[in-house]
C-alpha cells in the first residue's frame, strides 16, 4: 500500500519536499520574494485550472475575482476585522459575485463566454479605479495589516512563505478531492461534450456554476492573501494582465493536471527572471512561447511528461510480451482544455 502510494505519488512528494526545504536553500531575499509570489499565483492558477482546465470554460475575469478578494480583505482588515475572518468572508463574496455573474455568462459558450467574462473583468478594474470613496481610486489601498496569530505577526519572509504554502496545500487538497469526485467527473464531461453530458442527465448549467463559484472562491482567497502579505493594492491588482499571466502558467504547466499550474507558476517567472537581460524583448518571447505551446504542445509540460511516461510504459510492456492493445495517452482529445 505504502509502496503503491509512493510509486504513484512520488512526483508530488518530491515537490512537497522541495517546497518545504526551499527556505533553507534560497538565501537571496529577492528570489525568495518571487517564490512567495509564485505560491500565491499558484493558488490563482489552480483555481483558473478548475474552470478552464477541468470544466472547459475560459473565464477571463479571474483577475477581477482576485481583485474582489484582495479589496475585500484589504478593506475589512483595515476596518479592524481579523485576517482569519476577513479572508473566508472575502472569498465568499468573490464566490457570490461569481454566482451572480455566472447566471448570465455561463449560458454562453466558447469564445462568447471568454469575451463576456473578460468584459466583466474590465468592469471590475474600472470600478475599482473610479470608486474613490471605497477603494481609494488609482492610489489604491495602503497599509493593509499583516495576518496575525495571537501576538505573532507574519512579517518575516519565512513565516509568510509557510503561510502561503499552507494555503496552497489546502487549495491543492480541495482541488484533488473535487476533481476525483463524481462532481469532478461531471466537470470533465461538460468540458468534453456538453450536449452529451446533458443527454446522460447531468445538469450542465449547475455543474458550470459550481465550478465557476469554487474557482472564484479560491481566486478571491489568493487575492486576499496577496493583499495582506504585500500590504498595498491598486486597480492593477485586478488587471486582465494578471489573467493572461495565469493563463500562460496554466497552459505552459499543463491544463487539467494538478501539478501543471504550480509548475507553470514557478517555472515561468523564474525563466523570465533569467531572461532579464533581454529587457523588453522578454515579453515578445513570452508571446512566441504561448503560440508555440498552444500549437505544438497543447497539453503543456505535464502533458508532455505524461505522454513520455506512457510511451516508456508501453514500450516496457511490449517488451514483456504483453501485447494487449494499449490506448495511448496521445489518443486523448488533442486540445488544451
Amino acid at each position: 500500500m505504502a509502496v503503491k502510494f509512493l510509486r504513484e505519488k512520488w512526483f508530488y512528494l518530491v515537490l512537497l519536499l522541495a517546497a518545504v526545504t526551499l527556505p533553507l536553500v534560497v538565501t537571496d531575499r529577492y528570489i525568495f520574494q518571487l517564490a512567495i509570489m509564485s505560491l500565491i499565483f499558484s493558488i490563482a492558477t489552480l483555481s483558473l485550472n478548475l474552470i478552464l482546465g477541468y470544466t472547459g470554460q475560459a473565464s477571463l475575469a479571474h483577475a477581477g475575482f482576485f481583485g474582489i478578494g484582495a479589496y475585500g480583505v484589504g478593506l475589512m482588515t483595515k476596518a479592524g476585522l481579523s485576517f482569519w475572518l476577513a479572508l473566508p468572508l472575502a472569498s465568499f463574496i468573490s464566490a457570490l459575485v461569481g454566482f451572480l455573474i455566472g447566471l448570465p455568462t455561463l449560458r454562453t459558450r466558447g469564445s462568447y463566454f471568454a469575451i463576456a467574462t473578460l468584459c466583466f473583468g474590465v468592469i471590475i478594474s474600472i470600478v475599482i479605479g473610479n470608486w474613490v470613496e471605497l477603494t481609494g481610486g488609482h492610489t489604491g489601498l495602503l497599509g493593509i495589516p499583516r495576518p496575525k496569530i495571537g501576538s505573532f505577526e507574519f512579517s518575516s519572509q519565512i513565516s509568510q512563505y509557510y503561510l502561503v504554502l499552507a494555503f496552497l496545500l489546502l487549495t491543492l487538497f480541495v482541488m484533488h478531492r473535487l476533481v476525483h469526485s463524481l462532481q469532478g467527473l461531471s466537470f470533465m464531461s461538460v468540458r468534453n461534450n456538453e450536449p452529451l453530458a446533458e443527454a446522460v442527465g447531468i445538469n450542465t448549467f449547475a455543474t458550470k456554476i459550481i465550478s465557476f463559484m469554487v474557482a472564484n472562491f479560491f481566486a478571491g482567497m489568493a487575492g486576499g492573501i496577496y493583499a495582506s502579505l504585500i500590504g498595498s493594492i491598486s486597480p492593477s491588482t485586478a488587471s486582465f494582465n494578471h489573467t493572461f499571466n495565469w493563463l500562460v502558467y496554466l497552459l505552459l504547466g499543463g491544463a487539467a493536471t494538478l501539478a501543471g499550474p504550480i509548475l507553470g507558476a514557478f517555472a515561468f517567472p523564474l525563466l523570465m527572471e533569467y531572461l532579464q537581460f533581454l529587457e523588453d524583448y522578454r515579453l515578445i518571447i513570452f508571446g512566441v512561447l504561448l503560440i508555440i505551446v498552444i500549437i505544438y504542445f497543447p497539453r503543456g509540460l505535464m502533458g508532455g511528461i505524461e505522454s513520455l511516461q506512457h510511451r516508456i510504459k508501453t514500450r516496457y510492456r511490449l517488451r514483456k510480451g504483453d501485447g494487449k492493445n494499449v490506448v495511448t495517452a496521445s489518443g486523448k482529445s488533442h486540445q488544451a482544455v
Binding site: G56, A58, I101, L103, P104, T105, R107, T108, R109, G110, S111, Y112, A114, I115, A116, L118, C119, F120, V122, I123, I126, V127, N130, F244, L247, L251, D280, Y281, L283, I284, F286, G287, V288, L289, L290, I291, I294, I295, P298, H334, Q335, A336, V337
Partner: protein, 287 residues
C-alpha cells in the same frame, strides 16, 4: 439641445471607427470562425505605421494611409498563416489563447521599436465647421464620410465580386466551397488582409483626433468583439449598426451620466444582452 446634438455627433464619429473595425472582425470571427483577439492590436499597428510614414519619411496623410493599409494587409496575412492556420480544426479557445500570444508580441514589439509614449499624428484638416450649433472639426466629418464610403465599398465587394462571393461561400459551407474549387486557404488570407487593411484605414483616420499609444488596441479590440456579438456573429449589417449604437451609448453615457464610467456602459450593455440572448442580438445558434 446643442449639447445633445454635439454628443450625437461625437457618438456617430466614434461609431464610425467602431463600425469599420467591427466589420473587419466580423469577417474573420463570424465567417472564418477565428476569434482574432489581436484585431485591436493590428489596428494599433496601423496607426503607428501611418504615424512613422508621416513623421519620419515626411509623407502626406493620404499616401501614409495607403501605405499603412498595404502593410497591415500583409501583416494580417502573416498573422493568419503563423498564428491561426495551424489551429484551424481545434477548439476556438486554442485560437483565442494563440491570439493572446500574438497581441503580446504586437504590443511589446511596438513598445520596443517606437517607445511606450503616446504620439499625435499632425492633423491634416484642422479647420472647423459650424452647423446647427455644433462645432465639427473637418477631420471628424471626414472620418464619418470615409467610414460610410468604406462600408459601401466593402458591401459591394462582398455581394458583387467573385472573391467576395467566395468568402460568403466559405462562410456558409467550408466543405461545399472546397468541392466547388474554392481555395479555402487563399480565401482565409484574403479575408484577413481585408480585415486588417480596413482596420489600418480606420486607425489612420482617427489618429489625428486622439493620441496613439501601444495600449490603444486592447480596449478597442474588446469593444470590437462586443459589437460583433451585439450585432450577431457574422452579420455585416449587425456589425455596422452595432458599431454606431456602441458609439452613441458611449458618447451619451459619457456625456450625461459619467465620463469615468463610459467604458463600463459598453461592457455592461454586452453582459445585459448576453443575459437576455446568449447568442447576441441577431445571432443564430452557435455550434
Amino acid at each position: 439641445m446643442d449639447l445633445f446634438l454635439q454628443q450625437i455627433f461625437n457618438g456617430v464619429m466614434l461609431g464610425s471607427t467602431y463600425a469599420i473595425v467591427a466589420l473587419g472582425l466580423t469577417l474573420v470571427f463570424g465567417i472564418l470562425h477565428i476569434p482574432n483577439f489581436a484585431h485591436g492590436h493590428l489596428y494599433m499597428l496601423g496607426a503607428y505605421v501611418s504615424f512613422f510614414a508621416m513623421t519620419r519619411y515626411g509623407l502626406g496623410f493620404w499616401p501614409a494611409l495607403f501605405i499603412s493599409v498595404f502593410v497591415l494587409a500583409l501583416a494580417g496575412v502573416v498573422v493568419e498563416f503563423l498564428v491561426y492556420r495551424p489551429l484551424r480544426d481545434q477548439p476556438h479557445i486554442n485560437s483565442f489563447i494563440s491570439a493572446i500570444g500574438a497581441l503580446i508580441i504586437l504590443e511589446t514589439g511596438v513598445v520596443v521599436i517606437w517607445g511606450p509614449q503616446a504620439h499625435r499624428i499632425p492633423n491634416p484638416y484642422p479647420g472647423t465647421i459650424e452647423l446647427l450649433g455644433m462645432t465639427m472639426t473637418q477631420q471628424r466629418l471626414l472620418l464619418i464620410i470615409v467610414a460610410i464610403i468604406m462600408i459601401v465599398l466593402l458591401q459591394i465587394f462582398i455581394k458583387k465580386t467573385t472573391p467576395g462571393t467566395a468568402i460568403e461561400a466559405v462562410a456558409q459551407n467550408r466543405e461545399g466551397a472546397m468541392l466547388m474549387g474554392i481555395n479555402v486557404n487563399r480565401i482565409s488570407s484574403l479575408t484577413f488582409a481585408i480585415s486588417t487593411g480596413t482596420a489600418a484605414a480606420a486607425a489612420t483616420m482617427v489618429a489625428p483626433i486622439f493620441m496613439i499609444s501601444p495600449a490603444m488596441g486592447a480596449l478597442l479590440g474588446m469593444k470590437a468583439f462586443i459589437i460583433v456579438i451585439l450585432g450577431g456573429l457574422g452579420s455585416i449589417p449587425g456589425a455596422i449598426v452595432g458599431g454606431y449604437i456602441l458609439g452613441l451609448i458611449e458618447a451619451l453615457g459619457g456625456g450625461y451620466i459619467s465620463a469615468d464610467y463610459k467604458d463600463v456602459f459598453a461592457f455592461g450593455a454586452l453582459l445585459l444582452i448576453l443575459a437576455i440572448k446568449p447568442t447576441g442580438l441577431f445571432g443564430r445558434e452557435v455550434a
